[in-house]
Amino acid sequence: MKYLTKIKDTEIVVEIERVDDHFQVQIDGDSYHAEMFQLDGAESYLFRINNEPHQIEITKKDHQYSVSYRGDNYLCHIEDERLARLRSSIKGSEQSQTEHVVSTPMPGLIVEINVAVGQEVRKGESLLTIEAMKMENEISAPEDAVVTEINVAEKQAVEMGQELLVLEYIE
């Protein structure tokens, strides 16, 4: 079976075949001897790839895997061939690539909103200030953009991951 993976902006096609007691994996013409063992924790695995052991924790959400490997975290989007073909056929209907939702990385209290709808902001410019654990934290623009929506108000308490505002990137 072929899988289309995407980590950050890199797409990698992984082909997996079961051979006797292990898996044969192909990437870009390179071949790997791979074995997989589930440890007793729900999300902990041991892989041996060409005799190299790798202990990882992995959680799945839809087509997105979150992998913890050697202290770092990675996000990997995955589709099998069939899904990838399906998706490419409807690609035209996707949402604008330039629209970007800014969510809060922490729960807290909105102290101040420093921008208004329609305002142009530079990359790194402060959008708003959140207080959490007695510290004020500034949320800044990831790219040059125009503010298209603001979904919170000053003094409002926000949950982790809540949408704060929407930006349209300037290309």
């Binding site: 992984v14 924790g41 799945k60 895997y65 770092d72 995955i78 007695k134």
Partner: protein, 501 residues
Amino acid sequence: MIKKVLIANRGEIAVRIIRACKESGIRTVAIFSDADVTSLHVRMAEEAYHVGPAPSAESYLYIGRIIDVAKKSGTDAIHPGYGFLAENPVFAKEVKAAGVIFIGPEADTIELLGDKMAARKRMIDAGVPVVPGSETKVDDIESASRFAGEIGYPVLIKAAAGGGGKGMRIVRKSEEMTAALRMAQNEARSAFGDERIYIEKYLERPRHIEIQIMADTHGNVVHLGERECSIQRRHQKVIEETPSPVVDDELRQRMGETAVRAAKASNYVNAGTVEFLLDQQKNFYFLEVNTRLQVEHPVTELVTGIDLAKEQIRVANGEKLSFTQESIRWNGAALECRIYAEDPDSEFMPSIGKITEYREPSGPGVRVDSGLDHFGQVSIYYDPLISKLCTWGNDRDEAISRMRRALAEYRIQGVKTVIPFHLLVMNHEKFIAGDLSTHFIGEELAQMQEQNPMAEDTMKKIAIFCAMVEQQHQNQVQNIHSDRNDKVKSAWKMKGRQRIA
């Protein structure tokens, strides 16, 4: 004789103090908020009492209720840990008034040293060198700007009641003064209930060097050498070590003697830390005294062999210090990496959540002081410090190589941590060379992260992991009934199925 100690704190420092009490044969009383009903410090104590809802102001800062618990439980002494009420002179006073021993300095000493401006004056009088700065509080833009103009930018705005970087702002140009002053005052008010701030000359690329002191009630004041805490983010320490790569015996002795002088000038008793900035010409300037056991005390314990928390209890008991200045031997080198639940890729934003997988490193030269286990969670209400990972080595290189090994062994799932950041620092040539300053993270972090793009090889491995797990999911759905009777052909395959199916 202290036989029962109430620990007016939570998290790793509560656990640390409980351990010291258990080793001293002392019974422990924990307190907890609604957020900590089943936390590790509660599970480790012999007694535990509820003191209120999750917000600190209604629980861990609620002086009356904590003293009630002390009375009800028959506590002989209260250890405040660090943070919360540790440097609150009112608490120290009320504890004493309730007939309970406060494990720390006298309330007057805490009050004097907690007021940064009063402390500065006292130190100037005692001949302790200080950074040029405002000798009175500065609360309006005009006087702040005028004073900053006099000593010259950059300047540092600091909370008079401050500590831990809260209410602190660097101002590099006069245009930034208005915004910085407002934010510093806001933070100071919210953190300390006291919005007074003052202004200091900002030293370029200084090192943060502090001296551990210990004083008993018999007039003995001893210093236990320095700690270098230059690696800071958001003005908070993340990596500490002893000895400092730039402090030699002569400088240690001079700084140590100055710290002892500072302690004597404030009638200091029990454990404390005198913080200094060291400039590039190795001039040192008094910064402040932390009137408590510090987060980073274990590195001093690792090189001196002295258990500071147990020594605090001895001193509170009225005993003499178990060592003298002459008997202290500094042995090897020790490092501490604070393991925060924070995302180093997102400006060290706290990462809140349940711990789903937890395994600490151990083995030679490793010490972990943690406040949670695999049943734990990082709460929105408190500091996101999971643990302190310390290593000891015969020399700094060995301590660093052990730290790398230990960081790589540490497994924490459920929240993001600063472990990847610490690994970058431990492999950074300037860090390895001991070329540190308090600007290290600001100057080096972005570059470190850029120079450490995900290797192609790592990316391919992640792709393989995910593709294989995805295939397993698909097969499980497809084959759940069809291949039960397959014969397994080899031990390998069998093992794989036992585990995977």
